[in-house]
Subunit: 132 residues, 2 copies
DNA sequence: TTACAATCTGTAGTGACTACAGATGCAAGC
DNA sequence: GCTTGCATCTGTAGTCACTACAGATTGTAA
């Protein structure tokens, strides 16, 4: 398996080039080897790493959470219970967000329902918004 | 009703002082009158305006959406149908976000369920994360 | 008057990128 | 071997919606 340039890696993973360089800069991607001219070359190990990072971002993990996961992976023998607890914590954040958004949805639905949409002197949505 | 200083307004609305100044700077709050020494003074109209802004932010409206709503309000005779359509659009954004988070929740739940938490050579969560 | 709190302006930092500018590198065609 | 033109390089600044200072000035109660 030969090394990939940053463009090929970007295509493969769907992660934008600038973002890959950014991940290197903030230390979640390991430093890439360079060609004589200074272009980055990626080996299989780093391709896998980027896939993991991208996947985690899709799942809504923060960079800090990813850092934690990666440090467990980098530790050689990832401790399953630690990985699980990071994931569980993230899950409960997600559930909290869903609950918050549901409440918000209810309020917005009610506001929309009360508004006829015709031009009336006092718009019930604006009224609702003014009520603190 | 006498004018309020920025600290009092902050206490009343729960909106932090720096944020009030920021809202003025970006033009969603109207320019406040000043005392001889330059301290901001807020009248009833602006207090109501800030309440509206704060409420909208709680409901997850972006500053740009709020700008739109305020321009309708400032237009004198807020067109109910326009207000309604901004709100409906925001509602559908929220619903989309809820749907996305639900999917995410499912994936995370499955990952957690498959992990025993004991130290095994291949952590199923990490496996799942590596699978692109 | 003298403390001391409140407020002022302006700048820089947050998270997770994105978007340039201006300088090189590299691979293919001639 | 040389040129053309895309790929990549570094570094800085911008995004959103604030937040956090520093250092100066104002307002107010004892």
């Amino acid at each position: 398996m030969k090394a990939l340039g940053i463009g090929a890696l970007s295509q493969l993973t769907g992660c934008n080039i600038e973002t890959i360089r950014y991940y290197e800069k903030i230390g979640v991607m390991t430093i890439a080897d360079r060609t004589a001219g200074g272009h980055r070359q990626y080996e299989n190990e780093q391709v896998k790493r980027l896939f993991l990072i991208v996947r985690c971002r899709q799942l809504g993990f923060s960079i800090d959470e990813i850092r934690t996961l990666l440090s467990l992976v980098d530790g050689g023998n990832p401790s399953c219970s630690e990985v699980k607890s990071v994931t569980e914590e993230h899950l409960s954040d997600v559930q909290q967000k869903i609950a918050d958004l549901r409440k918000l949805e209810d309020v917005l639905k009610k506001m929309v329902a009360e508004c006829s949409g015709t031009k009336v002197p006092d718009c019930p949505i604006i009224e609702a918004l003014y009520a603190a």
